[in-house]
Amino acid sequence: MSDETVDYHPMWAELGLDLPTHDALLGAVGQLFGDAYLTQQNRPEGMGYLNFVMSEVHGLRIKELDDYRKSGGKVFGTFCLYVPEEIIRAAAGWCVGLCAGAEFAYDQVEQIMPRNTCSLIKSFMGFKLAKVCPYIESADLVIGETTCDCKKKAYELLGEMHNVFVMELPQMKRDVDMAMWRDEIRALMAKVEEVTGNTITAESLKAAIKEVNDKRRALQRIAATRAADPAPISGKDALLATQVAFYDDVPRFTQMMNALADELEARVAAGEGVAPKGAKRVLVTGTPMALPNWKLHDLIEKAGAVVVGEEMCTGSRYYQDLVSEDATTLDEMVSDIAEKYLDINCACFTPNQGRLEDVVRMAKALGADGVIDYSLQFCGLYEMESNAVEKAVRDAGFPVLKITTDYSMEDVGQLATRIEAFLEML
């Protein structure tokens, strides 16, 4: 997917990527993208930007990171929403998501972790072991978190190959947990200051809070247009916007997403959509869908329905809450950041009633006809919580389909039948 006029191979080689394997990966992702995305009808013009980003996802963007690092800047890789991007940016660090979302080098992964580990973890480890993720190879520090037991142990394994710093995330949301979480954020500040050599000030943090909030506001605008019937943007395209949010330059991405939101708002006003008015509308909830995992959305939308929302980390959980912008002192800002991030409703918390409320609220607000609850196989947390989600959604009067799957394509026939039958039932 590299730009034909620029050969990025020297840069990839310098990063230590395994070039033949990496070429094969890019070919596969390019084909996947073509099949899932470029076959869509009536796409908003603003998606051209995301098409371009995807075509340069291992090219131009990596070049930007490379240039930044060569000028003395530092890059931080993260795997999870709970790592506050504001802190990293306040020290002039750049934050990027790391590769996962595709089945890769599982043979190597299974030598160091059990086969029955969830796809997300096996995938990120596969990308690392096979040396095909230019993001992790560009990261001066990987910031992990203790969101699940398998990730916790996986970071130990990753720590043998890369600089890793792990944040301890509480599992409950009591005052003691909040106090502990504030300390964790301060510990992250100290670490980021050490790596970058820059001091985080009230001014720099205030600016970073504003900047990251602006990114979330742009995504909120896009999300809001999806309540319209016909939906002005496909679920796949909206999902891609959130996925790219983890990787792209923040101010540029915000500007482009606001432009996309302008277009979508105009489409809504004109009654234009990607699917005919009255197409079945589905809300998806569950485990995150890391780029390039478009499997479920693709199946749903190829069956003629439209996904109108994602209650997931690559969805509303990423952008629905903002950090307060009122604080003036560093301490207040840290508290505000701690509060916002602890407010994310991940299944790693107990209790997690907030997520059930979010799902039902979104299903109503977005005019969903049904809800699909998506769990990655061996993700104990989401698989366990699935029962509570199903009950809450049914009690609110929405039909629900539970799907447990992974990144492989071996079950797409079965899944297509279940999804189509679910849509026929709505």
Binding site: G304, P399, T404, E410, Q414, T417, R418, E420, A421, E424
Partner: protein, 254 residues
């Protein structure tokens, strides 16, 4: 207007010709390695004005023969509720998957469950086990009825269960008791699936495995309501697919 309903499954291709809501003819062929060609023989009779396909080959069939496609879930729901207007639920055990369907008023699907990507508890499972026991499918069902008690089979995975059965045979366990145990293990799994979708009686048991008397007996014994088996259990999907066109049902016209 004559409608051809085609159910292209993993083991068989079933066809039903419908005119004014009545079956005028039906046929069943082995899917073999080329189910499309098996279906083409029915299409080539030219005795229809429209085609509705269902089963795992529905999309391929729609592309090849035109017409519309509908999932097996909807097709079985429609088919079963027309054959038995009081039906509240449907069980379809086919060659490679099992479906349980809860029906609302008018045969509308209200909930369903389908086994995922393995052959556990399906017709394929029975075929593999019959081979491991040296029985035909019919013999295995007969033995399953004759044996007063079954051996407990703990593996649901077709591959593991085959090893388990081989182990039992080598230990000298009675083949009839193993046969019964195998049927019981599928019945147990199926009954819990029916409970999960809150299936009420009467239950219509359709699909190829409904022709297995041992399975029918065990399901009837364990299910809280009446169990009904259609005469041509295998063709309920094809019949339902054809009907869905007549009813202007959910068949998708893409």
């Amino acid at each position: 207007m004559r409608i051809l309903g085609l159910d292209i499954g993993s083991r068989s291709v079933d066809a039903v010709w419908l005119e004014d809501g009545r079956i005028i003819d039906w046929a069943v062929a082995d899917s073999g390695f080329d189910p499309g060609s098996a279906a083409a023989l029915f299409v080539d009779r030219g005795a229809h004005d429209a085609i509705v396909s269902t089963g795992y080959g529905r999309h391929a069939a729609r592309e090849r023969f035109g017409g519309t496609a509908v999932t097996e879930i909807t097709a079985y729901g429609v088919g079963a509720s027309v054959l038995f207007p009081h039906a509240s639920s449907v069980l379809d055990i086919g060659g490679q998957d099992t479906k349980v369907i809860s029906l609302g008023p008018g045969g509308k699907v209200t909930d369903f469950e389908m086994n995922d990507k393995c052959a556990a508890g399906t017709g394929k499972f029975l075929e593999v086990m019959a081979r491991a026991l040296g029985f035909t499918l019919e013999e295995m069902a007969e033995q399953g009825i004759i044996a007063p008690t079954g051996v407990s089979i703990s593996s649901m995975c077709t591959v593991f269960a085959e090893s388990e059965v081989t182990g039992l045979v080598h230990r000298g366990e009675d083949r009839a008791r193993i046969a019964r145990g195998l049927h019981e293990s599928i019945a147990k799994r199926t009954l819990s699936s029916l409970k999960r979708v809150n299936a009420q009686g009467p239950l219509v048991f359709a699909g190829g495995v409904a022709k297995n008397p041992a399975m029918v007996a065990l399901i009837a014994e364990g299910f809280a309501g009446v169990v009904l088996v259609p005469e041509e259990a295998q063709t309920v999907g094809a019949f339902g697919a054809a009907l869905s066109a007549v009813q202007g049902g959910p068949a998708d016209g893409r």
